[in-house]
Amino acid sequence: MMRIVERLDLEEGFEFQKAYIRDLDGRPALFGSFGGVECDMETKESLLEAGVVCCQPVDFDADWPLSVVLEGVDDQRYRINGATADPRAVAAARRFHELLISGEAKPGVEL
């Protein structure tokens, strides 16, 4: 079990705004808006368990300033680039993950 040791995702103007399900190449995928920048929110179980969700900008021609530092079971630290620990974003991601497992994730749904 990993835990958050440093939040580097607290950037003014890059805050989480909303999350929604979109069709990506024929499959439902979670996207979100962070300060008006659309991000692909991949939901990796081990990160969700740690309270983190990824947010990779779809089209942003610069360094993306959101990241989180985690610590693993062996005290090793991992900086996860393009990630946020924003509770609302993580909650939306967990919900999407459940819908995906149950087969109920439908494009067009906002979470």
Binding site: E11, R27, C54, Y78, L100
Partner: protein
Amino acid sequence: MSAEFRKSASVPAEKVGSRSPVSRPLSSGEWADIPVALRERAFFSAHVESARFLERTKALLEDFLNEAREEIVQPDGTGTTALKVGSRAHFVDRVRRFAIEEGVPVPESWKGSIRDITHSSRLALIFDIQTLAAQEYGSWRQGMQKDVLNEFPAYRFIREVDVVQPRPLHVQNTGVVRLKTDLPFWLTMNSPTLGGFGVPWGPWGFGSGMGVEDVDRKEAEALGLIKPGDRLEPAEKGFNDHLKASVTNLSPEIQEFLRQKLGDSVKFQDGAVWWKGDRASKRDAGVAPVPRRKPSPIDPNAFPERLDILVPVRRLGGSTGAELVRDPLTGQLFVRKEGNSPDHVREEFAADQVYRALGVNVPEARMYDDGKRPVKLARFIEGRTLGSLPPPEREAAILKLRDQFAADAWLGNWDVAGTGLDNVLVDEAGTPWRIDNGGSLRFRAQGARKTAEEWNAWPTDLWTMRDAAKFPVPGKVFGGMPIFDVSKGIRGLDGRISAAIQAAPAELQPVLGFRWEQMRQIAAKALDYQSTQFTASYSDEVTRWMMELRKSGVFDRLSTELRQGKAGDYVLNDENGVPFDHLRTQKGQKHADPSENFFLVVSEAAKTINGHHAKGDTAYNQGKLSNAAALAPELKKLSASGNPQQKAMAAHYLGVLEGIESAKGNTSSKVPFVTKFELKSTASKAQRSVISELADWMSKNGGDWSIVSQWAGDQAGSSKSNGSKALKRLLLDNLVGASESDFWDPPAAKNLAAMRKAHGERYDRSMLMFQAFVQEVLGKLQFPGNDRNARSVRILRTETNAGAVPIPVGKVGTYKRGVNESGSLFYPVFTGARTITVVPHTRITSLYFFERTPGAGGDFLLGDMENEATYIGWGLRVLNLGVLPKERVPMKIGSTRKEWEL
């Protein structure tokens, strides 16, 4: 004729004396039709019917040859003796007077011409021919005397007089040495087809200018013509025994005439005439033939036994003194070469032998060692140099050379083509011959020894010799040759490799054996890449780095096996119970990486600047900026008083801080891409991890471990990160026949472009170095689910969205996946549909066994519990196990593909 000859020769007169005077009005042409064997038995002159005249002429010649003397009365009345015939003029005078006295008829129209037997020119010609023939025959007979024959058993065919138009066969055989008893050879030299006289002695045709000289037994033995102790039998009798002349073409009238004139000593039978004493007669008489020992025949293709008999023809140029020579015994041409040193020429000879054992066209060669300096003698190949061929022919020859490039690389024959493409000759059939292999093995072409870096157990020549930029000469021939063709060439030669190694000197055999094994493995890997649809250029680079890695010693501390405590365990131990063996730095040996913290802090500061500038504001995260600024004093201190590495690192990060300060407040500016400065490990070799070694090796070879490390960090978080997508794109671009539509959520070209822009050519190089490393680990390290013989790994993957796997549960099929997906090696993670894929090694792109930060000893990807491997599943079959609890997924996997074959 010299007096010395006349005194020593007792036999010439016999030649004339033994002939039967034959008077018959035959013309010269008619006499020419008479077989040689018969003519040799007849003393004749064309159109002379007077036997008495011929008898007298013959007697005078005998007198001359015998130095017969007669009593004469001098003008003062005293008696004395004088030569009966003392000179040619004397002979002509006496015969002429006799002919006139005798009334030998001469047609009116012939008088004064060469056809006039009384004419001095005609008689002079008779004298010349008869005496010269007698002289030569005398020499031959003398040479055939048993004692003489065994003391001087051979003749050397020589030119005595330069002539305007030498006969080609005589030119070809000038200097040739053959046994006197080798009648077929000498008869060939005097063949009537060349205008010769059809006898095994001279003269060798009118105006031939040729002669013979004795060759003593020592030389003949040295030439292999006769063995010590062997005794030769005179061939004269044999020659006569074999005198069977065909008379089938002669008219019955002339046959009858010859029968009358020669009848007592011959037998006419079955269209041929046999001389008394011949085998046929003996057979007819019921006498069993006496078997005769034949002289050892000379193999016309044999190499000479000695070098000092070779006749130089011309220098062939080059730096090592190659010279074209001819063997006078056989007429064959050879290339004589001493190299720049004895060891150099011996090495070249060794290379030749190995090439030939491989079936590669190299002129046959022999080594000669006279105790002073070894000499290589190679057969001369008629052909044109590769460089002199017109382009179409040259290209065709190059293609043939490429078929056997593996042999050149194996032997490190850098100069195989030659600077002017003159080390390859192409014969009339278009077959290329490697004629100068002096740049092979431990030597350079001009004789200098290669360094340990240049010649060793690692055949990096497979790449360097195809690199036209670095090695222009072989590059002209092999440049651009795809690794797949190289690999097929290796496979093509594999069946002959044992024999080829055996053909090498003993001290070279181990290294050659090792080099070939390396090549065999590289070929297998490259062909695996081809069959799994990678481009040749990608496969070439990865295999090149594999070989360089082997050579580097990066794997010196790597174990051969990682073991599971029980099925499903993801922390694997080596035979000593050490987790992940030396792939990671072990506890107690970990050392902090000062650069890591500097990098994390300054890169965060750069990201907040660049991120906000991209949005057009300056609302930076001040905490990140102040953290970065706080590093400045420490960095300045290191810059002033640290060791050279620390100074370099400090300069690197201080430069980033300057960039941050410079960009701050100006939304149109940007902090340049921040890279991590890789500090070289100061740990001792015994403490360093394999990854530490790898990072250093990459740095030395133009790569950068931090690029790999950054990718691992990105991949750990999301396969949709920029770093992940950049590698995906690199892989996609190197899959033959693949298009974006073949993959789920394909990466954009801009992701890769961004990485290339940030890192330059180091990006591709680093990622391909890493791929080579992964392949080497898979090949060297046994672990459950890895079949090293089948070069495959079992991968478990869970699709959270079960609907993404359109394959019925329990069935095998394919489905659209991402370019470079994550899977698990030992037990499934996450929740969803379980799948199993058998993945060829070449499609595995990373393993979680490594450490992300050299020396830190930590995980490589997100965490060991994910037991992650990344792979390219494109086109690979998948077994859909359905949505199962983790515990129901088979985890006892064994290490052979059969155990988990789909």
